[in-house]
Symmetry: C2
Subunit: 224 residues, 2 copies
């Protein structure tokens, strides 16, 4: 299954006691390095990789972008990203359901951030555990797709509390599924009053411009 053109890093388990402090340290290192680190989280199958591809297309003329694909196993997504000619690395968590700050740092060192303005982590597909561990990212983005249902902020509260931005993906499928976008916005607000919500279709491109504009602004503010 393995494609040798994809660089694969097996992450070492973190031995640090205080991940929160380490995450703050990583953010200060990133600030110094002038690299914005975005943590992209979602369930399996909500369209992280397609959203990543659409985001790269929207921002590659403005920013130097790198991608860390995290997976328990496989390099399915890394192949898709490498095909775009984007600097990328596949990190394997060795069965772990999340990344923490030190695992992030291992990946960032391996990819090399000197020539990158923005590194996007495609975290392990999981709406639960990744929210419990600060990766040291500058911002956390959560994708929820239409087929998953508008009640998910009630059922996975921590993920939506930790989000700095929420993308509602697959809005082209709205006619097929019983998903109330206004109800979803209300449910997000119950957890996270000021979190912006961008409805998008990564597949058709609808709404992607607004999301890319938001992200570009965040990156520029951080890099200043």
């Amino acid at each position: 299954m393995e494609d040798r053109s994809i660089r694969i890093l097996d992450l070492k388990k973190t031995i640090l006691e205080d991940n929160d402090a380490d995450a703050d340290l990583l953010r200060s290192e990133l600030k110094k390095d002038k690299t914005f680190y975005l943590n992209l989280m979602s369930s399996p199958g909500s369209g992280k990789t397609t959203t990543l591809k659409a985001t790269i297309a929207g921002l590659r003329d403005s920013l130097r972008i790198g991608v860390m694909e995290a997976d328990i196993d496989s390099d399915v997504d890394a192949k898709a990203i490498a095909a775009l000619g984007i600097k990328s690395i596949q990190v394997h968590t060795g069965g772990m359901c999340h990344l923490d700050a030190d695992m992030s740092r291992q990946g960032l060192r391996a990819i090399g951030t000197d020539d990158l303005d923005l590194v996007i982590l495609e975290n392990v597909g999981n709406l639960v555990c990744p929210a419990e561990f600060d990766t040291g990212a500058c911002k956390n983005a959560v994708i929820l797709s239409i087929p998953e249902g508008d009640d998910k902020p009630l059922k996975y509260p921590l993920m939506f509390e930790k989000a700095d931005v929420v993308l509602v993906n697959k809005i082209d499928a709205l006619p097929v599924f019983d998903f109330d976008l206004e109800k979803f916005r209300e449910n997000v607000r119950l957890r996270n009053a000021c979190c912006p919500v961008f409805p998008i279709s990564a597949a058709t491109g609808e709404g992607v411009d607004a999301w890319c504009a938001w992200l570009l602004q965040e990156v520029r503010t951080f890099l200043e």
Copy 2:
């Protein structure tokens, strides 16, 4: 948010060292009690609750069914099940991303299994962690829905290795998504050579009869 008509149990964290041994013990207790315990796992939003409702409709004339709804928080699903007049309980994991055997036992004791042939656990929506902990269930069922993509057995290998049966839900959405059912079957077989795969639409009822017939046979064999 809380509806007092729903019984909610806050699970205690397990202190047992050897969950695998405890899971085997729970299975022997269940065999003696003549109660079949089914562990239903999937991502958030793949249709666990809708599948549960369709399964109850298909089997309630043949079996006495109870339901344990596991959630980190909320009682959204328990309300839906209670509305069917089915014996049910909401168990809260207190932030934990999975249930183990002792947490299962706490829930089974609270619901009371004397008058039940089949208890279905709707596990926490998560394709990663629940697969790592044997709940003591007689069988593990995994639901994967069409919008999630046919590559998921490659990306979440342990979940598909632990499955005794796989349901492919939302097949009514096949025309809208790029999902190859044969490719998916192949990907399941790579992880789990003999695992039966049932394509269903819990919403329209398509394929539900075959799944219910399989489950009824498993329950009857266990109860004999």
